[in-house]
């Protein structure tokens, strides 16, 4: 502690939004030469965390993460050391570390992680692949005739599971697999879209899923496996389909609901995991819409100036994040009725944002993948990006991103699916709690 007394001192006041780490908001004299680690030690000291219980903290001053010493920061900003500096501290997220890379034959356009550990990837070679953590391709599902644009887990146990895949061949296929006998089978095909299926989302209870397509419609389907094909509306279509797909004995499923309010291709749909009937969608008509799928009502519409490419909803934050045809990640508050009000924007990318994913555990962390080949992790309390991960070099696009537990999964133009380990200490605390 002798060392702490050396050099110039700054009065700081520590505040936090995380209740469990709250300390009295009285100004404390701290040496100005302290960096993040030193300040973190002070917090831990005050919290009387010792040994194992010590938590790394990050420090925000005026919405910016402290990456230098206090003195340097104050000098940079031309601030006086006389005044009390208010520092917000948050539990630190450790830098994500790349784990492994999964080689594909073609561009990886869709990825999803199941909480139990299975990785799904859809590719432009029309195949869906199932991977394990050891970068082994467990199974390859080929049934699509166009590039797979969306994958969505339905259920997953240790050795078996079901999932959905949507592709540019306008179909959604439901698959069942079993690793025990290394078998997989096509459960049913969802038929009805007349454009490429861009996005699939499963609702909280798991009995409905929605799909967005370039034909400007959102269709809601049941996850129940039908025994026989639903009757198709158009006799002519069935005749044609009979001609084109006479080879197999697929079970066809018709949509429950078709939502048509978008005036351009629908590029993203996402269910609210806390309310089973609430669906958010975004499309090329520059709108973000909220739907009640039970009453088929477009509850509200928010407009911006750019095409929406990706959407994600965070149950923790209660916010929508969207990626657009510009290098900006936008945050929307669905609870605010005001249309076209963007709550927050994050700029830092160099290309279009192709995919966004909220942290499954934090209300503040958010990741985005962009056409510049980078994945950026944002803390919504800060202005700049927290971390920048390189998915692909040489301006190869990153096309898909998913974040589940401590794994961040990304796919892109470089035919790779990459896994990053995200060590947020929070999950350990939640598990310990």
């Amino acid at each position: 502690m002798d060392s702490l007394a050396d050099g110039p001192q700054v009065q700081v006041r520590f505040v936090t939004q995380q209740r469990q780490y709250a300390i009295p908001e009285t100004p404390i004299q701290t040496p100005a030469r302290l960096k993040r680690y030193g300040l973190s030690q002070i917090i831990n000291l005050i919290l009387q965390n010792e040994g194992e219980k010590q938590r790394p903290f990050d420090f925000l001053i005026d919405g910016e993460f402290l990456r230098t010493s206090l003195q340097e920061y104050l000098d940079d900003k031309g601030l006086s050391t006389e005044n009390i500096v208010t520092i917000e501290y948050v539990e630190s997220m450790l830098p994500p570390t790349p784990l492994s890379s999964y080689e594909h034959d073609d561009w990886v356009s869709a990825v999803q992680i199941h909480a139990q550990g299975g990785f799904l990837s859809g590719s432009y070679d029309n195949h869906v692949r199932l991977w394990n953590k050891q970068a082994e391709c467990l199974q390859v599902f080929s049934g699509h005739t166009g590039p797979v644009k969306a994958v969505q887990w339905l259920t997953s146990e240790d050795e078996t599971g079901t999932f959905l895949s949507g592709a540019m061949d306008q179909s959604i296929l439901a698959w069942e697999y079993s690793l025990l006998d290394n078998q997989h089978s096509l459960l049913y095909e969802c038929k009805g879209h007349t454009g490429a299926v861009e996005s699939i989302s499963l609702n909280a209870t798991g009995d409905r899923f929605a799909s967005g397509s370039t034909d400007a419609t959102i269709k809601v389907w049941s996850t129940k496996v039908p025994k026989v094909s639903d009757p198709m509306e158009d006799a002519g279509k069935s005749r044609k389909r009979a001609k084109t797909s006479a080879k197999d004995d697929r079970v066809y499923k018709a949509p429950l609901v078709t939502l048509t309010a978008h005036t351009g291709p629908v590029s993203a749909v996402v269910f609210n995991p806390t309310a089973k009937d609430t669906l958010y969608s975004g499309g090329w008509d520059h709108s973000v819409r909220m739907w009640d799928i039970e009453s088929h009502v477009n509850v509200w519409t928010k407009n911006c100036e750019k095409v929406v490419h990706a959407l994600d909803y965070s149950a923790h934050a209660g916010l929508l994040a969207s990626g657009h045809s510009d290098p900006v990640v936008r945050l929307w508050d669905p609870r605010v009725d005001d249309s076209s009000v963007v709550k927050q924007t994050f700029s830092g990318h160099q290309g279009w944002v192709s995919s966004v994913a909220w942290s499954p555990e934090s209300a503040y962390l958010l990741a985005s993948a962009s056409y510049d080949g980078l994945i950026k992790v944002w803390d919504i309390r800060a202005k700049g990006a927290l971390y920048t991960l390189v998915h692909a070099k040489g301006s190869k696009k990153a096309l898909a991103l998913d974040w589940e537990r401590d794994i961040m999964l990304s796919g892109g133009e470089d035919n790779q699916m990459k896994i990053h380990q995200v060590k947020s200490n929070m999950d350990s605390t939640t598990s310990s709690n």
């Binding site: 561009w107 044609k240 090329w284 750019k306």
Partner: protein, 828 residues
Amino acid sequence: MPAAKAKLATKAAAPKKAVPAPKKNVPSSKPAVSKAKSAPAPVVKASKKRSVQQAAAEESEEEESDGEFGDVAIDMNSDDEESDAEEEEDDDEVEDFPEESQDMSSADVEDDDEEEADSDASSYMDGDSLVDSQEENNDFSDDADEENDDNDDDEEEEDEDNFENEYTQIDPNFGRNLDQPVEEEDEYQPIKRVYPEIDPVYDSDSSTEENENTVGNVPMEWYDDFPHIGYDVNGKKVMRPATSDELDKFLSTMDDPDTWISGHNAQEGKDVKLSAEELDIIRRLEGGRIPDAEYNPYEDSVDFFTSKTEIMPLSAAPEPKRRFIPSKHEAKRIMKIVRAIREGRIVPRKSGHVLPKPKYYNLWNDDDKPREDHVMHIAAPKMKLPTHDESYNPPAEYLPTEEEINEWNEMDKEDRPKNYLPQKYDSLRNVPAYGRFIQERFERCLDLYLAPRVRKNRLNIDPESLIPKLPSPRDLQPFPTRLAVEYLGHEGRVRSVSVDPTGLWLASGGEDKTVRVWEVATGRCMATYRLEELVTSVAWGPNKDVAVLAVACGYKCGLIVPEKLFSPELTQHSEEYVKAGFANAGDSEANPKATWKQPTASEHSQGIRVWIHMQKPVKQVTWHRKGDYFSTVAPDANNSAVLIHQLTKHQTQQPFKKTKGAVQRVMFHPNKPMFFVATQRYVRQYNLQRQELVKTLMSGVKWISSMDIHPAGDNLIIGSYDKRLCWFDLDLSSKPYKTLRYHQQAIRSVAYHKRYPLFASCADDGSVQIFHGMVYNDLLQNPLIVPVKILKNVHERVESLGALCVEWHPTQPWLISSGADHTIKLFS
């Protein structure tokens, strides 16, 4: 004076003669007028002549009065001032004018009483006052005479006699019978001095007197030293008469009663008694009067014209027109002078009118007055106002410390910030005289004299004001600004790109003999069609229900129905739609210019459904908005350069029997049955229904390279190989509304956005320029064109080719450009 009287007489005569006239018939009055005309005319002339002679002889004062009278006489008949002025001015007409006025007055007077006329005339003019002044003059002269009376009564008598003599001499004229002819006036002589008669007898010659000194008029003091005082006619000396001394002189003067009127004649050397005339002269000189007793300084003024104004003109002749119109002659003369002044031949007020320089003038007269600013005048810089430390009692803080004083003293004179040190005095009384006053004045004068002062005339033009007021590009968003997606895969120049109506698929054709279809959002190549020839143009069918891609490739035009991109139903329908024409191919006779053919099996498997073979290489293919007709351009195929094909019937029409010039581009109007054909210099608009030429647009460029039509159909842009982009407002004019020359190299392609008010052009310099082109519904408002973005070096220059084609996304503000560097790029 006598002349005036004579004149009065003539005037009086005229009415009297005319008195009987009113009793006669009116028509007969004419001859009377003519008579009257002939009669008085010579009189006036004579009088005028005389007056001229007189004028030379008499004093200027009198001349002036004559002139006035003359004016008055002219004035008589004309009441208005204009004609008056005119007559004064008009020199030429003056000569004969009095004649007429006299005539007129004589004619007019006929009906009136003489007295009335007189009184009227006098009332008309200021003759009264003139008469008064004459009388006054006379009085004055009388007074002068009276003064003379005091001096010499005799002389007075003589004077009076003379006067009377004169008077009596002239009297006959005055008292002349009125009936007497007026011609006698000619005999009148001006007043002459009457000298005493000289009788030319022998003794009348004074030169015969003896003892005459002949030295002449030389100073007699020359002879002071001689005994003689001159020589007589015979050359003999005239001896000086004996001179008496002063006492004798005095005594002789006492004796001689005439001494006081005698003077010493130096020539004769003796005293001579002065004659009465000489004495008179002396007396007059003494009195300060004119020595000549017979000279009358106050002669009576003689009327040149009568001072009486006639109410009636002597002539009944109407006023000539020239009285009322400005004189041409005079105008001519004035113009001559004006011209001379303009040309500088006459410098007004230079030669004759030089004002004499005043001998003395007040040197400091206008010293305190502000001088008028000369053009080159530059005001002297003002001296600085004194500050606190120049006060005699400055505040303490202004007073220098000891160190400062030392420092100031040590400093060089030039380096000192101030040339004084503040000093404190208790009272103004203690302030000494300023020691440096003279020096400072001198320096100030030096400053003013030596300082070079230059007036810099800066042009105060705000550069902002020269720039046309355009909205800021920031307010005109959205428009593409940055590269978003690249489409890589072509192995040759990409000549043409086209986005399908849904906005999801991008087709491109290049010189690698392939047509590729790309996913717009990701840049993924979804299909590649390998053809046999270079692909020059690709175009998606505009109908959303038929997915067909037209491709211009060498001598052929192909129709491709891409598989897997669209729903099977749509693909199926498109295929049927495209192939339907083969059924009735046999019905219509084959057009030799274009033959519709089935592709080979391998080609069919690729997706090519129809080939149209043509005679010359096809450069462009473009669709009608409904997606049934499309047109191809083969510039080399003279008359059949433009062909219009019908997809459903597989028929080809040749719309123009003869094409004027090499066709570069064709376009269908977006909503009317119109067709635009761009040749090298002109764009022609045809009505397809009526089959007639509607309009020819004169581009003013040398070689049109590309063309596009605004989605509303009223505006058109062309790009040219000579770097220009022309915007035509079809309703406005056949000339370009705006010509933009921003590119460094030949423009290759221009394109309008279907929804946003945007258009773009690309050029060989590899750059793409984006403009905001707002077309208003209001016909009165011209389109607003604002350059919003230049995308530089979008494409690398390869063999002097840069960007080759630009195309807008149909729904988003995204721009797609293709280039010679084998790439296609999307900007958002």
